[in-house]
């Protein structure tokens, strides 16, 4: 048994290494009449964490919204192909993907045209968008919101809805991971939450929804040092898995101390102008965006 597990794991790594999850090609996007993304290309493989850094107005949030399908962010050219490994099943939304991930990577060319999907279908396909400014929904409790969300995704994937008890168990577990008490989960979505609480709530949602790809838009903004650490370890615990990937949009090096990226990209004027390893983030911190964007 032990031996076969070992074999599986090596095989899995081998397969996953080649498993491209997201392929963005020559993406152009406009907001109103202004073109913000001007031919952005990016590839993300399963198991990888990518950080995107860049000056204000470079198009970082536009990239997140364009991938999430937000109305008003119009893609005018380019393509986005999403090819997740099949979602691990089981109660709790397949929370234990590090134990027994399904090893059937989709054949090449079988990915989903992400841009053809509605926002809620993108979520069901396995994409999670972490908001820079999480939205308040008065009158709808966090628990109700999350249960509706999770079960909508599960039903869309042909899985069974979780019962109330199963859901509460899962919610408790994920809230504890982010040091959030159940009373907060009973309150209306983000209403009266501090900036830090809203961000932690985003991570609790991510834990419960268990996505394949998390696109986190400035999840670190507005966090104090302790909250940053909690959120960082939350991201690691939930998303640092061989069958998952993260696109981390951030301004600062600090979050990257907690969540170590495999790749760092510099986004300037709607395109990725430079790509490197974690050392690029340090260099940016030291020299600033301008110097690097100009040299690129």
């Amino acid at each position: 048994m032990t031996i076969s597990t070992g074999v599986t794991y090596r095989l899995k790594n081998f397969e996953l290494k080649r498993n491209q999850m997201l392929k963005i090609e020559n993406l152009h996007a406009t907001v109103g009449d202004t073109e913000i993304l001007k031919g952005l290309s990016l590839e993300i493989n399963a198991g990888e964490i990518h950080a995107i850094m860049g000056p204000n107005g470079a198009g970082k949030s536009t990239l997140a919204y364009a991938l999430g399908g937000r109305p008003g962010y119009d893609v005018t050219a380019g393509s986005v192909t999403f090819t997740p490994l099949p979602l691990a099943g089981g109660a709790g939304g397949g929370q234990t993907s590090d134990e027994a991930p399904p090893l059937t990577p989709p054949a090449s060319g079988r990915g989903t045209d992400l841009l053809a999907l509605d926002p809620h279908e993108r979520a069901a396909a396995g994409i999670f968008l972490g908001f820079q400014y999480p939205v308040e929904i008065p009158g709808v409790s966090n628990l109700q919101f999350l249960r509706e969300s999770l079960n909508a995704q599960r039903l869309a994937r042909g899985e069974e809805a979780l019962s109330g008890a199963e859901f509460i168990k899962l919610a408790k577990e994920k809230a504890a991971l982010l040091k959030m008490d159940m009373d907060m989960l009973k309150r209306a979505v983000n209403v009266g939450f501090s900036g830090g609480e809203k961000k932690r709530n985003e991570m609790v949602q991510m834990g419960i929804l268990n996505p394949k790809l998390a696109i986190l838009d400035e999840t670190d903004s507005g966090l104090d040092i302790d909250a940053l650490r909690t959120v960082g370890s939350g991201i690691n615990a939930i998303m640092r898995k061989p069958d998952k990937a993260v696109l981390l949009i951030t301004h600062y090096q600090r979050l990257l101390d907690e969540v170590k990226p495999d790749f760092v990209h510099v986004l300037a004027a709607g395109r990725i102008v430079k790509t490197g390893g974690p050392e690029l983030a340090l260099q940016l911190e030291e020299e600033g965006y301008e110097a690097i964007a100009e040299a690129a």
Binding site: G68, G69, R70, P71, D118, P119, H120, R122, A123, A124, F128, L129, F131, P134, V135, E136, I137, P138, G139, V140, Q144, F145, L146, E148, S149, L150, A152, Q153, A156, A188, Q205, L209
Partner: protein, 250 residues
């Protein structure tokens, strides 16, 4: 009704559909008299209007005794022209509670018109009205509050919020306060808005389809009108009815 047909010059009828009203006016009976004896509580829920030829009318004249409470919850939806008209006269230390939802679509004209008379001191009143209006429907709330000269320590509150689902829909909200006492609290607030697009996208980004997202938001929006129903089963019934109507709107 023996009284002459109202005209739009009468302030409390200014948004009414008088054309629809005219043919049925003679068939309407006058207001129903309700007396709440001192110290007692009377609750009434109206989930459907009694409709004659497309016109649904509820007309109540309520006298609330000293330290008594009258609680009214209404749902205005099932009429081409629907009007819920309440005149409440409050005794010393009494309370009047109104929770109402107006759910209109098509060419419906629906309104809740109240006259709250704080005739004696120490009485409180609280009115919460939520409207959801689609197509070219019109929903109105006219709330008049009179505070008599000696009705000190009156505490009267009105909260009126309307949600317009379509460009052609109309919401009217008109608080009207006549206060002759000087030691009183009269709070009133009114908003008119549409579904929060950011919240809709936020919900979509979590996997909730647009129809369900809209339903959840509208459900939460009108829930305010029914929080004051103290019996859970009664609240579930009237909220359930409201939800059923809401589903028809979207």
């Amino acid at each position: 009704m023996n009284a002459p047909l109202p005209t739009r010059r009468d302030e409390s009828w200014r948004y009414a559909d008088l054309k629809a009203l005219e043919p049925v006016w003679a068939k309407l009976t006058g207001p129903e008299q309700i007396t709440v004896p001192a110290g007692e509580t009377v609750s009434r829920q109206i989930a459907e209007l009694p409709v004659i030829d497309g016109v649904g009318m509820i007309d109540l004249d309520v006298t609330i005794g000293d330290k008594a409470t009258f609680i009214l919850h209404v749902l205005a939806h099932n009429a081409d022209y629907g009007r819920i008209q309440v005149r409440a006269t409050l005794g010393n230390g009494s309370h009047f509670e109104l929770g109402g939802a107006i759910l209109g679509a098509g060419k419906q004209t629906l309104e809740i018109v109240t006259e709250t008379i704080h005739a004696e001191p120490n009485a409180t009143s609280n009115q919460v009205v939520r409207s959801v209006l689609a197509d070219t429907a019109t929903g109105s709330f006219l709330g008049r509050i009179n505070v008599a000269r000696h009705a000190q320590k009156t505490d009267a509150a009105q909260s009126v919020k309307s949600m317009l689902l379509d460009r052609g829909a109309t919401a009217n909200a008109k608080p009207e306060l006549e206060i002759f006492a000087d030691d009183v609290k009269c709070a009133h607030g009114a908003t008119v808005g549409e579904l929060d697009k950011q919240a809709l996208f936020y919900m979509a980004s979590r996997g909730i389809d647009p129809v369900t997202a809209k339903k959840l938001m509208l459900q939460a929006f009108i829930a305010d009108a029914f929080v004051s129903v103290d019996d859970d089963a009664v609240r579930d019934a009237i909220e359930g009815k409201a939800l059923e109507v809401l589903e028809g709107l979207s």
